[in-house]
């Protein structure tokens, strides 16, 4: 009873002490704002055992560390090659040493626990043999029992000693592993070598100026025949004329001018694009009238296109949340305490423990799509499972975007990730011979994609856009085909660009960016992407494949696709469909003082006919 009382007081003191230390973290600064204690934490996913943390333990990451470190020559391993290609500097040998030490300490604890269990069993047997529970007190006074108790106590002390060393080590290794990038896809590795050697592989890539250092690895392009026409029309967009200035409150549909319902207003200084650098946060803006209607029209068009695809059982349209807890953000490969690159939302409560930290990523972000699956175990028969959504994404760098995004989960592993892992684990490490095999596989995959896309461009068979029964490598191709299916009608030049390893995000294994031609910039701008995420997110957020027969934990593999960035594509649509208005419609204002015809002011936007039914006339 006394012991219980002491324990209660101790735990109360402990709680009060830790609360004090947290409160200390949240003291006010000179402006009266309190600092956020969460920012001082190293991870929101890995919570140190037996310690009060500002983050609740809601997820336990399940990283396959053996796959990373179980190699005899870490400097010639795939992991090191991955880090080099991504320009990440890390002392891998040191980390591997820590990992092995951690594993040996864990094994030692395991052994000691077994020994302790054996001793407990021996004590139980002793008690049983000496008359059972009734005479337990007497039995425990015997020499045999005392010896066993002493042994058990020694083991306990040993375990505690090891734990003192193990817990900080676990923290170091686990957090370091959580920050490691995703496994590099062989094609991304091939791209890395391709760029390194400045070797122009004209068999795969279309490069306009091969010697240009900035040349991008263009894998495929379509609608490129429209380029000449658009380049020819760029004279219309000189000077101050661009998508921000040319739109009026009317559009032309098949040569007929259709005015907006409000166009009787004399809104002469009404801007259709209102940049707000100060009123709203960086890169956010207002889009008014025709422009906003066009964005809405495009959203409806793309969603309609998707609805027309063959609907599979696990092909779901969802509407998710915009704000997320730190664990989810960290699980998706972003740093939760980086308030320069995240929109962090903080609610200060009355006490430090009630401070709430959320992250505004948007209802169409990867986090929003992943939210549907966190800590779930999905039966194999439900794969591949695709969710898609339309909504907003927010980031300080890009501002507020309207996008349509997809996420596909599958139980299948990519054949271009771990194929040569076992051979690279030998003392020799990844030999030149196997490296060549790796690069060849990566190159072959890129060639296969190219050929498949060529075939689809000639004969668009929508049945090939479905995911059922396909490997994860084929699902990537399906997504690329989806771009051809959705954009072909626009007649705007589109290209698929392979992203080099050093441009990949931590969570990406392989990425193809989709770019469209923006006439006013005379360059391509990104409108979407297809990205292999593999099991990077699912291993951090416990998204498992429910396989009864499998003894090991298996995580779902993911492919992410952003079909359209509506904010950017609307600009492209506007600039690509400009026409010089007819002379009859010109009024005196448009004839300059010299009497010449001022085309810049008489540009009209012609809505492509296939969009008419989606436009709010």
């Amino acid at each position: 009873m006394q012991r219980f009382k002491f324990k209660t007081i101790f735990s109360q003191l402990n709680r009060k002490f830790s609360l004090c230390s947290t409160l200390k973290n949240s003291k006010s600064d000179e402006n009266g704002y309190r600092s956020v204690p969460h920012y001082t934490q190293k991870s929101s996913l890995y919570i140190k055992p037996a310690e009060e943390s500002i983050f609740p333990k809601i997820i336990s990451p399940e990283l396959n560390m053996d796959r990373l470190f179980d190699t005899r020559n870490i400097l010639r391993s795939m992991l090191n090659l991955n880090l080099t290609a991504r320009h990440i500097h890390l002392n891998l040998e040191h980390l591997q040493k820590d990992y092995f030490k951690m594993r040996s300490l864990e094994d030692r604890i395991e052994q000691l626990k077994k020994q302790k269990d054996q001793i407990s069993e021996q004590i139980n047997n002793l008690v049983k043999s000496k008359g059972g529970i009734g005479s337990k007190k007497k039995t425990m006074q015997t020499d045999d029992a005392k010896k066993l108790l002493r042994l058990a106590n020694e083991i306990k002390i040993k375990i505690n000693h090891i734990l003192d060393e193990l817990i900080p080590l676990q923290e170091i290794v686990n957090i370091a592993c959580l920050r490691l990038p995703n496994t590099l896809h062989y094609s991304a590795l091939y791209l890395h070598k391709y760029h390194l050697n400045r070797y122009v592989d004209s068999e795969i890539f279309i490069n306009y100026e091969s010697m240009d250092e900035q040349a991008r690895s263009v894998l495929f392009e379509f609608n490129s025949q429209a380029m000449e026409k658009l380049k020819h029309g760029t004279y219309l967009l000189d000077g101050a004329n661009n998508w921000q200035t040319i739109l009026k409150d009317s559009v032309t549909v098949q040569g007929k001018k259709i005015s907006a319902k409000y166009s009787n207003k004399n809104l002469d200084n009404w801007s259709f694009i209102e940049q707000t650098a100060i009123d709203s946060v960086l890169n956010n803006r207002y889009l008014c009238g025709t422009y906003a209607k066009l964005e809405q029209c495009l959203s409806d068009y793309f969603l309609d296109k998707i609805q027309h695809l063959n609907k599979e059982e696990n092909f779901e349209y969802i509407k998710s949340s915009s704000m997320f807890k730190s664990a989810l953000i960290e699980g998706c490969g972003k740093s939760f305490n980086d308030y320069r690159n995240n929109f962090n939302v903080v609610r200060f409560g009355h006490s430090a423990s009630s401070i709430e930290l959320l992250h505004l990523a948007g209802s169409s972000s990867i986090s929003a799509l992943v939210l549907n699956f966190v800590r779930t175990s999905i039966k194999k028969k439900y794969f591949p499972w695709t969710v898609f959504t339309n909504g907003r994404t927010y980031s300080p760098k890009k501002g507020q975007l309207n996008t349509i995004d997809f996420l596909t989960l599958t139980s299948d592993n990519s054949s271009l990730l771990y194929k040569y892992d076992n051979v690279s684990k030998s003392a020799e490490g990844l030999t030149d011979q196997f490296l060549k095999l790796t690069l060849d596989s990566g190159k072959k995959y890129l060639l296969d994609i190219k050929n498949e896309l060529d075939r689809f461009l000639i004969k668009s068979n929508c049945d090939t856009l479905t995911h059922n029964g396909k490997s994860i490598d084929q699902i990537i191709v399906s997504y690329l085909k989806l771009f051809i299916y959705a954009y072909k009608e626009f007649g705007i030049p589109i290209r698929f660009v392979c992203i080099n390893a050093y441009d990949l995000n931590t969570r990406d294994s392989f990425k193809i960016k989709v770019e469209a031609y923006l006439p006013s910039e005379q360059n391509y701008v990104a409108i979407g992407e297809v990205c292999l995420l593999n099991d990077y997110i699912s291993s951090r957020l416990q998204i498992r494949v429910d396989e009864e027969s499998s003894p090991t934990i298996k995580h779902a593999n993911m492919v992410y696709c952003r079909l359209v960035d509506l904010s950017v594509f609307t600009q492209i649509l506007v600039e690509s469909n400009l026409k010089v208005g007819s002379h009859e419609s010109l009024n005196d204002e448009l004839i300059s003082e010299s009497g010449s015809f001022n085309t810049e002011k008489n540009l009209v936007f012609e809505l492509p006919s296939f969009l008419t039914k989606y436009y709010l006339v």
Binding site: Y262, D279, E316, F324, L371, Y394
Partner: protein, 416 residues
């Protein structure tokens, strides 16, 4: 600052009423306020308070009565006390002290609520006057939560662990219904001549405050960003009314450009407190999609009141076709909030939980917001000699998606 509050125990009734506010005093206050930067970094002058009205002792009783009937935080007596202190300070000529008092007066004055329409019932929510009933009350149906669970249309279990409280994921048909509702509403509003605006969801706090929403204090419902080490500078928009009003700040419109009707679809993010279990899972949320109407009219009470009736008609027309039963309430003074002069709420019958739930509201804010955001109109905006007057602003919910989903699904549910 200490000096300002040092007269706290003085008996106001003995001194304040003796003075009439002079034109010179009003000019002095306005002159000083122009120097004070209330909102840093943003091109927004302090609100144009009608000092002649608020400091006139003959208006004290009516303003105080208005504050009490609205149960507002405004402190007109405190403001008049500060005015007395200003008079004393002017005698001493201590510039710093004068500026401090004027700034304190400003902060008190902006907290005063709008005047109330005489036709608004006085008192609390239960005094709301029902002005219209549409459709018939339906019998009990399963709740939207039950229906959605049955068809896998809604995921909310454990989601709050990784997102905000009461967060949810709409799936399949329910997600498609959200899209359909937005499209239906936008089509209707386009026909009525509304200009669609795509608005930012992250705004400078001054825009939100100028619309009459508090960003500080315990009861505020605004999420604040900790962005670039500047906590609270930017906030999340709780309704696109804030963004639309912000778009028009410092604008002068020609009389013939009015009424200017704007609409926007946006994600509303509110740090709202949880409601009762009875309300269900799609009722009081931290985040939802909403289509909002925002209208500017000439600064004439008759014109803006007529526009309020028009917006109410748009709303009833929009909701009538959706097979739901609803009632329109003329909201009493305590339910108006600070900015509204008059407000109608529309409550739909939720057959699942058998209660009337608010699905929409529309308010006439008179010149409350335009005085704060400096939105004016004149006969010819290019002619600066023309008289400029503050416009009246009105707002109305065209479609608050989750509550509409609840009302539609439950009202149109047929157990065959």
């Amino acid at each position: 600052m200490f000096k300002i509050f040092s007269f706290g125990t003085r008996n106001f009734s003995k001194c304040a009423l003796r003075y009439q506010i002079s034109k010179e005093r009003v000019e002095l206050i306005e002159k000083y306020l122009k120097k004070i930067r209330i909102f840093d970094e943003i091109d927004l002058f302090p609100a144009d308070i009608d000092w002649g009205y608020v400091l006139n002792p003959t208006n004290l009783t009516s303003i105080d009565e208005n504050i009490r009937t609205r149960k507002s935080n405004g402190d007109i007596i405190g403001l008049h006390r500060l005015n007395d202190d200003l008079k004393e300070a002017l005698k001493t000529g201590d510039q710093h002290y004068i500026e401090t008092i004027i700034e304190a007066m400003y902060h008190k004055a902006v907290q005063l609520p709008n005047i109330s329409d005489p036709s608004s019932p006085i008192g609390a929510e239960e005094n709301a006057e029902c002005v219209m009933n549409v459709g018939e009350k339906k019998g009990r149906s399963p709740t939207v939560d039950q229906i959605a669970k049955m068809y896998g249309w809604l995921r909310e279990d454990h989601i709050s662990l990784y997102s905000t409280q009461r967060s949810y994921i709409l799936k399949k048909e329910l997600a498609e219904l959200e899209n359909a509702l937005v499209r239906y509403t936008l089509n209707y509003l386009n026909d009525k001549g509304f200009i669609l605006v795509s608005v930012p969801d992250i705004l400078h706090h001054s825009i939100i405050e100028s619309c009459g929403f508090a960003t500080k204090g315990d009861r505020n419902q605004v999420y604040k960003l900790d962005f670039m080490n500047e906590y609270g500078k930017y906030c999340l928009s709780g309704t696109s009314e804030m963004s639309l009003a912000g778009l028009l700040k410092n604008r002068i419109l020609n009389h013939d450009e009015l009424p200017l009707k704007l609409c926007a679809v946006s994600r509303c993010l509110r740090a709202e407190v949880s409601g009762s279990e009875r309300e269900g899972k799609l009722y009081r949320l931290h985040e939802f999609t909403k289509v909002e109407m925002f209208v500017l009219t000439l600064g004439d009470s008759k014109i803006s009141s007529l526009m309020l009736e028009n917006i109410k008609e748009y709303q009833t027309e929009l909701f009538s076709d959706l097979g739901i039963h609803f009632r329109v309430l003329n909201m009493p003074t305590q339910e108006l909030g600070s900015p509204a002069y008059k407000k109608y709420d529309i409550e739909a019958w939720m057959p699942g939980n058998q209660f009337y739930g608010e699905i929409s509201s529309t308010s006439n804010c008179h010149s409350y917001q335009s005085r704060r955001l400096h939105i004016k109109s004149s006969r010819d905006k290019t002619d600066l000699s023309e008289k400029q007057s503050y416009v009246h602003t009105l707002n109305g919910t065209a479609c608050a998606v989750p509550r509409m989903l609840t009302a539609i699904v439950e009202s149109n549910w047929d157990m065959v």
